[in-house]
């Protein structure tokens, strides 16, 4: 054990220095709570274009402040990569230098990661497409997809995948698309699709040229998804689809839907479902936005009235759709369960506490706030390190067992708890809606607080997660199911 200077450790924060609460009135600082006056302004979804532009500019300023001030080395796990991987990182850097220029970076939409997380889609224009094609050719993108379908075709190596992700992010290149098509449909198509389906859909989906929505949930089939009732009846060369889907994200923008449809009404519950690909332009499809609790409309209802779907659009066999879709749901659980949401919100929460004065005192100096912040930080760190632990396990070819099964419930609960503390730090300003300029961070944390409900419910509501943990993780008996 090396000698260290105990006094330094006690009195100075590692790599952090003195508290960085900005002076009142400093650029980007929020006015002290007491000086704020009430002022009317519409919430995010009714803001005018000009108000939105002003708001985005303000958010950018605030976020760049966090990036500089808060996201310090302290928060990065200092885990060393072996030489082989260091070399690999150099190769990736050299590739990026050759294929993504400063001009390309300048043409990126000027939004931080958090703003992107709140709804701005990654680029899919010509330059982005060219970059993705080159990256796939080099094996840096879509590594699990065969080259024949536009993928990178590489053996699984989570560490390389992590390095690529880090470098692409740092250089602001177009990322691998993680939306529903690439993340959920592609693994399913690769495992169960026909050659024609793969040729037609895989590459275009990976490049973002075909956008997908998922048609699973129905008004009467949520947690008990297999009880779904939208029907498909074979007439000649077409399935005629009738019924309704709900909670369909991006249905208005999507070109196609992958859907679970009951085609074999006489079979047992799970054995009567087929997996269909449906062109959203087909006559008889009616998409209606579903206004959610924050007033925005991310989800939709989709109605099918005698929608004719070519017979060849089925993935897998008749009645096998439930089993075909399993690979999709598994991919979704991995997609939703990660610590980065909680981390970003936590960093925002600390920044907020440093900038906010409540009843004449900086929130960060309130002992209760400090206690709750450190309590949550321990949980955020646990979530991050658990992610590293799972990554290491998967690099060794093991599944994470219990540590993997709990991830989604753990991180979604945590993200919500962190944003709830942000509401308390905001004091009575927590009443102000997203988009209201006088709300702390223009209400971005309020927006998170609301949207984390969707994060908790999507991909299996919390009690479904608890069943999975209890039954698969702890070996407890299944409860009665029909």
């Amino acid at each position: 054990m090396a000698v260290r200077d105990g006094t330094l450790l006690r009195h100075e924060a590692p790599g952090n220095g003195a508290p960085r609460r900005p002076e009142p009135g400093a650029r980007g600082a929020l006015p002290p709570m007491a000086h704020r006056t009430r002022r009317g302004a519409g919430p995010w979804h009714t803001a005018s274009a000009l108000a939105r532009t002003r708001l985005l500019r303000r958010i950018r300023r605030l976020l760049s402040k966090w990036d500089r001030a808060e996201r310090v080395e302290e928060y990065h796990v200092n885990l060393k990569y072996s030489e082989e991987y260091q070399r690999f990182r150099e190769e990736v850097r050299a590739f990026i230098k050759d294929h993504w220029t400063a001009e390309d970076v300048a043409n990126n939409p000027q939004l931080s990661e958090m703003a992107q997380g709140l709804g701005s889609a990654p680029r899919t224009d010509e330059r982005a497409t060219a970059f993705r094609r080159e990256a796939a050719k080099r094996g840096y993108m879509y590594r699990h997809v065969p080259r024949a379908y536009g993928g990178g075709e590489q053996p699984p190596d989570p560490l390389k995948a992590t390095i690529i992700g880090e470098e692409f992010k740092a250089a602001k290149t177009p990322p691998e698309l993680m939306s529903q098509g690439p993340a959920m449909l592609i693994p399913t198509l690769l495992a169960h699709g026909s050659e024609e389906q793969k040729q037609e859909f895989v590459e275009k989906t990976l490049l973002g040229h075909i956008r997908w929505c998922q048609g699973y949930s129905e008004p009467g089939a949520g947690s008990d998804l297999a009880s779904l009732r939208t029907t498909g009846v074979l007439e000649g060369d077409h399935w005629v689809v009738n019924g309704q889907k709900i909670w369909t994200s991006n249905a208005r923008e999507a070109d196609w839907m992958f859907a679970l449809i009951r085609t074999e009404p006489d079979e047992a519950k799970h054995d009567g479902i087929s997996y269909l690909l449906i062109d959203m332009k087909t006559p008889g499809i009616d998409v209606r936005p579903l206004r959610q609790m924050d007033g925005d409309a991310h989800f939709n209802e989709v109605f099918f009235d005698n929608v004719r779907v070519p017979r060849a659009s089925m993935v897998g066999d008749r009645g096998q759709g439930w089993y075909v879709s399993r690979s999709t749901l598994k991919a979704e659980r991995a997609l939703i369960g990660n610590a980065s949401m909680a981390r970003r919100t936590f960093d925002g929460c600390v920044a907020l506490a440093q900038m906010t004065e409540v009843r004449g005192h900086p929130a960060i100096q309130d002992p209760v706030i400090r206690d709750r912040l450190t309590e949550l930080e321990a949980r955020v760190l646990a979530a991050e390190y658990n992610g590293f632990r799972l990554l290491t396990e998967s690099a060794k070819g093991h599944d994470g067992g219990l540590a993997g099964l709990v991830t989604k419930l753990h991180t979604s609960t945590l993200a919500h708890d962190v944003s709830r503390l942000a509401m308390d730090i905001s004091s009575d300003a927590a009443m102000l809606a997203p988009g209201e300029e006088r709300a702390p961070f223009s209400g971005m944390l309020v927006q998170s607080y609301i949207m984390y409900y969707a994060l908790a419910i999507g991909g299996g509501a919390p009690n479904i997660q608890r069943n999975v943990i209890g039954e698969r993780g702890l070996g407890l008996p299944r409860d009665v199911r029909r």
């Binding site: 206690d371 709990v406 407890l476």
Partner: protein, 361 residues
């Protein structure tokens, strides 16, 4: 990158676990905790043979020369099995001795490595005061005067390492067993598997072995990480016992684990506990390799894991129903250890306050 245990570390944990399962099942834990001094020299020798006593003693002094992560893995198993004895105080004192003068190391390390010499530390004073800067015990001309609270296994320790101040400021002094003008009063603690005593010095002979607060800080940070690991092991054991009970206990015509009310409580415990394992792994790793993160991560891990232990044990007892509240059923051994882990070296909110201060907030 490798965020996980090495094969050697897994093997180490397995062998300690096999040993304690065979040699110290709850029946023997109960025998030891009902004995006068709560210490079983034969058990301690057995653990020492596995390297538990001298794990972090440098190899040149006959120890295993391993790191805090390895020691914490041992603490995890000892917590899982509720093993009684002087492990914690001995390990903290070993860390303090590693920052002490060469004479002291040569004198005690070789016999600590074999388990023949048992060390302990006396850090705390008054109520809740564990910081070296606040020490009141005074050293003058090789004599100590003052009082130390909650000293682990002071009665059986061969050497007590004591924080005190002299004209040069804080430092560490060694007092050998049987020193005159030292009065050890055994305290009746909630945890029956780890004994504590009140120690009063009234001019006891002591040797100064370290200056400054580094040795004391080392002892504290090692203690915090080992308590976190002990809590992790103990909480896992409570979850295992309760899951097992839920799989066998039948009510309303089925095993109670099939009821979602029971299943979901157990799932919640697993959900909080499993990711938290990586928190004390990392805190131990930081102590070994990333020194500027040591103090904060040790504080965060201790407060978080010991709070989780308390929550886990609470649901474990509730889910057991009446049987969980009996003396015969073993669950209270862990309940008691949870009380120790949570309070020793200071309560959770104290360490969270420290972590907030250390962040520079």
């Amino acid at each position: 990158m490798d965020f996980g245990l090495t094969e050697d570390q897994s093997l180490l944990q397995d062998s300690i676990k096999k040993f304690v399962e065979a040699e110290c099942p709850p029946t023997r834990v109960r025998d030891i905790m009902e004995s006068d001094d709560g210490h079983d020299p034969a058990l301690w020798r057995g653990l020492a043979e596995l390297g538990v006593a001298g794990m972090t003693v440098p190899a040149e002094h006959g120890g295993a020369g391993l790191e805090l992560l390895d020691l914490a893995l041992a603490s995890d198993i000892l917590g899982w099995a509720a093993i009684p004895g002087p492990f914690l105080g001995n390990a903290m004192a070993t860390a303090a001795l590693s920052q002490s003068d060469a004479d002291a190391q040569e004198r005690w390390f070789p016999s600590v490595a074999t388990g023949e010499t048992v060390l302990t530390v006396a850090l705390g004073e008054g109520i809740g005061e564990w910081d070296a800067a606040a020490v009141q015990t005074r050293a003058t001309g090789g004599k100590l005067t003052g009082e130390k609270s909650l000293v682990p296994y002071a009665e059986i320790a061969d050497v007590i390492l004591v924080t005190a101040i002299d004209d040069d400021g804080p430092g560490l002094w060694a007092v050998e067993r049987g020193a005159s003008a030292m009065e050890i009063t055994a305290l009746s603690g909630n945890d029956l598997t780890r004994r504590v005593a009140h120690v009063r010095f009234d001019g006891a002979s002591a040797r100064k072995i370290a200056s400054g607060r580094i040795a004391a800080d080392y002892a504290r940070d090692v203690g915090l990480v080992l308590l976190a690991a002990d809590a992790s092991g103990g909480a896992h054991r409570c979850l295992e016992m309760t899951t097992e009970y839920a799989l066998t206990r039948e009510q309303f015509g089925q095993v109670i684990g099939a009821f979602q009310g029971v299943k979901h409580q157990l799932a919640n415990l697993a959900c909080d506990l499993e990711p938290a394992v990586s928190l004390w792994w990392y805190a131990a790793h930081a102590f070994d390799h990333i020194q500027d993160k040591t103090e904060r991560h040790a504080a965060l891990a201790k407060s978080h894991l010991t709070d989780l232990y308390d929550t886990t044990v609470r649901y474990a007892i509730e889910l057991h129903g009446g049987i969980g509240f009996t003396w015969e059923y073993d669950l209270h051994l862990w309940f008691r250890r949870a009380m120790f882990d949570r309070a020793f070296l200071g309560e959770s909110s104290y360490h969270r306050r420290r972590a907030a201060d250390l962040a520079g907030w």
